[in-house]
Symmetry: C2
Subunit: 412 residues, 2 copies
Amino acid sequence: MDAREIEIDSNLLQARIETLGKIGRREDNGLYRLVYTPEWAEAVDLVEGWLQQESLRTWRDAAGNLWGRLEGTEAGPVVATGSHIDTVPRGGAYDGALGVHAGLAAIRALAKTFGQPRRSIDLLVVCDEEGSRFRSDFLGSAAVAGSFAEDLGLLRDADGVSAAEAMRAAGLEPARFGEARRDDIAAWLELHIEQGGTLESEGLDAGVVHTITGHRIVRVTVEGRQDHAGTTPMDVRRDAMAGAAEMIQQAIGVAESLGRPAVCTAGWIEVRPGAANVVPGVVRFTLDMREADPLRLAELSGGVDLALGNVARRRELQVATEDLMFRRPVPLDADLQALLARHAEALGLRWRSMPSMAGHDSEVMAPRWPSGMVFVPSHDGRSHTPEEYTPIEQVLPGVRVLAAALWELAYP
Amino acid sequence: MDAREIEIDSNLLQARIETLGKIGRREDNGLYRLVYTPEWAEAVDLVEGWLQQESLRTWRDAAGNLWGRLEGTEAGPVVATGSHIDTVPRGGAYDGALGVHAGLAAIRALAKTFGQPRRSIDLLVVCDEEGSRFRSDFLGSAAVAGSFAEDLGLLRDADGVSAAEAMRAAGLEPARFGEARRDDIAAWLELHIEQGGTLESEGLDAGVVHTITGHRIVRVTVEGRQDHAGTTPMDVRRDAMAGAAEMIQQAIGVAESLGRPAVCTAGWIEVRPGAANVVPGVVRFTLDMREADPLRLAELSGGVDLALGNVARRRELQVATEDLMFRRPVPLDADLQALLARHAEALGLRWRSMPSMAGHDSEVMAPRWPSGMVFVPSHDGRSHTPEEYTPIEQVLPGVRVLAAALWELAYP
């Protein structure tokens, strides 16, 4: 098989990106396709129609994921691909959706060029990856992997609606959620936008992901003593903000000195009482730390904890950290990495091996079955915004790699 | 005259502190006596009754200040004392009110001991110093000094009521505001709690204020670029929070290295968009800088500006500062300082010369006529809280100094 023979209909792909990119669009130009909402359901219905146009057999699972199958000649484990169709609030048309478009375009091309595969190829349209409505990250893929551990009755959206209630409103029965689990997936491949600017800045066509980053988020509470901002000399203050500023600077410094891909972000901060002329008594802030290598993640995390304690001791402050998230780095399957790399080479692409510094459905799939990811460039590294964009000519190379890899897994 | 002969009725003084300390008290135990409110009016009525009990002739001026006069034998300029009766929201019984109590106790004692003075002694009960309702700091004393420059129709409280409307509701005519100006004050003396812990920690009875601090408040806006907290490497970020944290640390460092009494406080901060997993695009924070010496204030202020610019340049951020307040240091009258100091010595007090690091009515009075201030200790340095407190035995020495100084200015 010469992967260059696989013909992707780029006009159709572009048209479908644009059509789906209108579903859930609001006046601020952003997409709002939060799981189990009417906009989300409209998008799933639209895509199901496309799957049926391509002669895939479709069904919805108990979690609300949409599946479409290109039937193989043999029974047994299937090859699966896809990504998620939900968006963050005010999201864009590429994050998640492009993996659905790419999978469908690849399956369409394989069927047209090579006919029926030996193994069935399943396209998975994940219902909820962002978790924006219920803080239920990876709900859809975790349902498939059988690893969803939250109580659907307790997860609630901003209006107090539980995930279980929302499922019922969308025609799903939460008690049957566990039935979404699959045990017959031989391999999982996902195409996604990079969401960063590395591929674009390095002039590359594609990335083959080796690891999905480890990720720790802590909420730090610094307690000092509220005082008058004029009459309390600096040398007797226990200024929570003075401490927090040093802590943030040092935490960021730990990531800066570790170097790529380590990152540390203080994205949220709150000061009490919050008046210009009062020395703050309490400051709370978050630190989001990520690193793909487990040892370096431990170094980043430990270095930050050490800095927090040192600053607190020196300034006579109390500091407490509450872990909001901890995910260890998830390595992707080495054989699938080699497979994707081989086809990228065969296609004459400029590509690199790289970590994913954002979370993806693939990190939930990887512990259950061999999983691989292909990145395509993100223009200006933007994502989670209506401006996220990848020109079609930068989408196609990744789709070709995906199609070639699906061929190798499903046809011979 | 031997100041030790002046007998202050400490039981009456204590009782009046407690009685006035109940007016405007809410369930949170704090006092809410914002200018022109019913609670404020109740407090002014109560104090006017006390003034009349002490045979002072009372009147209200056009701004709503209450005056009481111990008539002198001669016409001509008067000696005035007092402080403000309004409180911050959830304030205490000492900030401001103690200067009214002290002035009344001193005048009462002088009249009882020495009879009628040569010069009239006026007690001023300032209607609004905190400015908590209308952001109208020093409204009452500025009316007396003739320096109030705001438009009463434009100043509005949180409910949208203008100061002019509030005055009318309190029975005052805003068009006549200018009539509150006095041109016949020979000297002004004010007793106030220190609002800091210096006197208490040094075991002193009183402070004689040499300068009321200079004061600059700026709102700093740091603009960087909003980015994904995972996929944007540290070395290409323009993280507004990373910059703000360094700026705050360095600004505080400038004050720390200048040493007492320089202070710098970052009391308020806001980050946009404010999500744990998004690199902040914009951070805003305030810096409150104070220093009593004009050259050192310039050094503090300039050092901070320099640090902001340096951090912004290095991190490729935009920084803008908006000045919310600038007040130059106000030196108090040297002769009155010497007078107060002489009587503190004569009374055998442990006292010191010190700056005031908070603002006071005296800074508005000082440009118009010789003005002096006496500080008494604040327990734990607390103020602007229901917990502010000075035990009566730490109030009395300051009242005796005030009485002796009033005697010297008004009697011989």
